[in-house]
């Protein structure tokens, strides 16, 4: 591993052909090169043949397509589960409501039956898919008459929309992002393809989007595009993409502090760059404007036609009544303000609880494990505590990326911030773990990313994340895909429980330190033991949730470790320790805790 230098400029050095990024090892007995883990073996023929990217990338895309599509053969959330069904029904319902109702009704329509509570881009996306679906078969999206339908062809259509959206957004963005990282870190094309496959075979994303049913990859894809633009040195594009990310799912706020800190940082360091600062501000505002423009145009149209709001609409929206000055109903901008405040009110449901269901974060672990019961506290106290803790946790990464806005630090900063939000913030779902996983998994495409240490840490976070979602996946009857996809991924990456080869590498050769090895292996042992216990030992009658609680606690602990690791790596890579004189320059990688 090259010693990280303090300057943002990294000298380009031509790699020797045998210098590997962790993909190739030497066989001890025969002294011949061999793949370091099974995924590399599948790329072995491409290495000797020196295949062009025009062939390898389509092949990778076809392979990952097959695994995604075959996962979607399985049931989706809420399949034949009245009365509420699940996310599948929610997405289908949004399609029918957007194509059948006037735009002013979108954010007012019945909240009880999966009311639209995502930002406008999701609404437009639903509208577009709904229009296509309506062409294919109108009965799938007949408002009020199609609630909870489970037509087999509808499933094909809906599954196809997820995959099509992913291949239009996430996949190209991932390819670009990996290419930018390869350029930045001087990784050769062959090893980047290995990393790209490893990133695209993330089991958590496949299981949630193609098994459980959601469109996370659209949001994650926009985030990848944001990252790729930042890496490519195009901050203005990154603003547009980040607004799209936020505009698709408000959960992208997990990334927002780091993105903002980085963008602010590049305007101030190494020297003040006023035009860039203004450019970023203006482009961001314009993008937000563009995001809400269709909604406002729709409102203008409905006002012109004098379409009334739904009769059950609560007027004015709570957010509007909180405005300092009251707005007259006669004002020309009144309907627009109503729409804006109502949509924001829907998107950010402040009234909901601290955490939902069982999620492996700090609050849920604290509460359910019985260490400290939280339901005695007032909701405002809890939300303030959550806010304070989150701010504390995101402060170090954001400060670092602000002071040292270097491209190679970006994945670490994004991952650390997102982990902080996941662990400490308010109103978190178990599926939100996909957000911190994405930048962390991107590390595979960086320098030494496929060496034992990083590979083991990324694999650890991914496996743990899937494992914490197991109770959710069991409800969706996705037990078998869970085992297959996580098992395959750990096998391909040469990680536990399939292989411990990554843990036999010594710390000097790019392996993990003893402490990390102990943490990892004990967590893996815990996960395996938990699966056996959950399958064969019924929970005691007085504690029916015992296994779920055990899952939450171990998961929260593991994620906490992931947060600390990302933060540590960020601190270490940024070189701030040597700046402060805590460690000696250049020599610090010897003491590194991997």
């Amino acid at each position: 591993m090259a010693p990280p230098t303090a300057s943002s400029h990294r000298p380009r050095k031509k790699r020797k052909p045998d210098a590997s990024n962790g993909t190739i090892t030497l066989n001890n007995t025969t002294k011949q090169e061999q793949p370091a883990f099974p995924l590399v073996a599948f790329f072995w023929p491409a290495r000797t043949a020196n295949l062009s990217q025009w062939i390898t990338i389509p092949i990778i895309l076809m392979v990952v397509f097959l695994f995604r599509w075959c996962t979607s053969l399985w049931p989706y959330s809420g399949y034949q589960k009245p009365p509420m069904h699940g996310d599948f029904e929610a997405q289908r319902h949004w399609m029918e409501l957007t194509i059948h109702l006037p735009m002013t009704h979108w954010y007012f329509h019945n909240l009880e039956w999966w009311g639209l509570d995502y930002p406008p881009l999701t609404a437009y996306h639903s509208w577009m898919l709904g229009q296509i679906g309506h062409l294919v078969n109108p009965s799938w999206f007949a408002l009020y008459q199609s609630q909870g339908i489970d037509d087999a062809n509808l499933k094909v259509f809906m599954r196809a929309t997820v995959i099509a959206s992913e291949y239009l957004v996430y996949i190209p963005a991932a390819v670009l992002c990996v290419r930018q990282l390869a350029k930045l870190h001087n990784v050769n094309a062959w090893e980047s393809s290995v990393a790209l496959t490893a990133i695209l075979m993330q089991p958590a994303t496949i299981l949630i989007d193609h098994g459980h049913f959601q469109y996370n990859t659209v949001m994650l894809g926009f985030m990848l595009a944001t990252t790729a633009s930042m890496l490519a040195g195009r901050p203005l594009w990154s603003c547009i993409f980040f607004v799209a990310t936020l505009g698709f799912k408000q959960m992208a706020l997990f990334y927002a502090p780091a993105v903002a800190a980085y963008l602010a940082g590049i305007c101030l360091f190494p020297r003040l760059d006023i035009p860039r600062l203004f450019g970023i501000a203006i482009i961001t505002l314009v993008s937000f404007g563009a995001l809400f423009l269709p909604l406002l145009l729709g409102t203008a149209f409905d006002t012109y036609r004098s379409v009334p709001l739904p009769t059950d609409a609560v007027l004015p929206p709570p957010l509007m009544s909180a405005l300092p000055s009251t707005v007259s109903e006669k004002a020309w901008y009144y309907p627009y303000l109503i729409q804006l405040t109502q949509s924001i009110h829907r998107i950010f449901p402040f009234a909901r609880g601290l955490f939902e269901d069982k999620v492996a974060n700090l609050w849920c672990a604290l509460h359910t494990s019985g260490v400290h019961k939280l339901h005695n506290y007032d909701a405002t106290v809890l939300s303030r505590a959550a806010l304070a803790l989150t701010l504390t946790a995101i402060l170090p990464p954001c400060l670092l990326i602000f002071l040292k806005p270097r491209k190679d630090l970006l994945p670490y900063a994004l991952a650390t911030t997102a982990w902080a939000f996941f662990l400490c913030s308010y109103q978190v779902h178990e599926k939100n773990v996909l957000l911190p996983l994405l930048p962390m998994t991107l590390l595979l495409a960086t320098e030494s990313g496929l060496k034992a240490a990083t590979r083991a840490w990324v694999g650890y976070a991914n496996t743990l994340a899937c494992w914490t979602m197991f109770p959710l996946l069991v409800r969706d009857e996705l037990r078998i895909p869970y085992f297959v996809l996580t098992g395959l991924r750990t096998y391909l990456m040469g990680l536990p429980p399939c292989s411990i080869s990554a843990y036999t590498v010594s710390a000097e050769e790019g392996g993990l330190s003893l402490v990390s090895k102990l943490i990892h292996l004990s967590t893996y042992a815990g996960m395996v033991a938990w699966h056996f216990a959950e399958a064969f030992v019924p929970a005691p009658a007085e504690k029916p949730d015992l296994w779920v609680v055990a899952n939450v606690c171990l998961g929260a602990g593991g994620f906490g470790v992931c947060y600390l690791w990302c933060l540590w790596r960020l601190v270490e890579e940024s070189g701030v320790l040597s700046d402060l004189g805590i460690t000696k320059k250049k020599r610090m990688d010897e003491k590194k805790m991997q």
Partner: protein, 501 residues
Amino acid sequence: MAEHYPTLMQTAVAATALKILLWPAYKSTDFEVHRNWLAITHSLPLKEWYYETTSEWTLDYPPFFAYFEWLMSQAAVFADTAMLQVKNLDYDSWQTVHFQRATVMITESVLIYALYLFIQSSPAASKKQSHAAALSILLSPGLLIIDHIHFQYNGFLYGVLILSIVLARKPSGLLASGVAFAALLCLKHIYLYLAPAYFVYLLRTYCLGPRSIFDIRLANCIKLGVAIGIVAALAFGPFVYYGQMPQVLSRLFPFSRGLCHAYWAPNVWAMYSFSDRVLIYAAPYLKLPVNYDAVNSVTRGLVGDTSFAVLPNITPRMTFVLTLAAQIPALAKLFFQPTWDNFVATLTLCGYASFLFGWHVHEKAILLVIIPFSLLALKDRRYLGAFRPLAVSGHVSLFPLLFTAMEFPVKVVYTILWLIVFLLAFERLAPASEKPRVFLLDRFSLLYIAVAIPLIAYCSLVHQLLFGARFEFLPLMFISSYSAVGVVGSWIGFLVVFFTS
């Protein structure tokens, strides 16, 4: 010795993952067929197996396969006992589906083992090629579509076939090879089509001396005869004892079926039927007599008697004679040059002959050609030239087996992926030939592969947009005729290569 990557095991693990994900996929009536056989063999005494008719899917495989089902039914008890009741027609609880799908995958390990032996037994110079060929068989879209979606046990059966072929590579394994093949025949009698090649090869290399054909090695003859006799006795003995042989044989060889299967297999008869269809419209101009009773029956091609409107009708006897006639030249060559390569080539040609001229051929039988051919495809570039159109047409011809929307992307993407990966790999690995290549054949295969893309697009999408549900036989007929051209083309190419080398 350098290991080749990805290894067989690594590939098998990744393929297994994908195959498990396919468990909830569409399954054909063959799934119910095999469930019924599990039930029959588990709940009825042996003497009723071949008489049971509760389900329309009666037991029509030879006894070893019935024993095989019996063996699996012992494990099925732990999955779901309801599947083992003969009366439970069309029973498919998830336990049943998972159990039966799992048995397909577990028994496929015979194929993996056979391929492992195939790589091990190939000479060092061609190990790399053998490795690629083995992977291509393991990942074959044919096996994926037929076994893991449609539902059959071909992975296991072809595993036994390859095992037998590989055993025949060394003189010490010839007896075992003969026994394995005899056992295979008692598992599924479709392999009878390959029996002539085995007969000639074993006769020449095992029963006759290497120098002269008049040097009869009596001890070997007796050993082989006794061994095969034991296999046959194990299989058919109980039924001979109960005096049920006529019933068993009538189940195994139902000649009452039609010339063409429900979907036309891409063989000579498909082209024949196609010509007949065309001739119906041309007949008035050519002043040919038309049999109007037949006009409305051929297009549906349903199981039953097929009659032709213009062309003369075909009898089972004619197909039998044609099949044998097509096999004889290759057998003659094998008889005089009994090398292992010639043996595999003859097996391939026997497969071709039976597929092209056989009676009531299923499109699935194309594996009978593709799999032995795969073992030879990397011998040199000339063989590869003949293999290419077969790889495309053989697999495309399987597409109509799966007609559900959900499985459509799987079959198309998987097949295209396989074709890209393996045709590229084979292209790089096949050594140049000593003999000049047949220029025309190369151009033919390129053109042929290029036509596949618009054809698949038309059949799967454009046709439905243009005509809706009308003329639904048209895409089937196009695919079948297109594939028939490919299979026949590759057959001719292979004949040229085989007889000129």
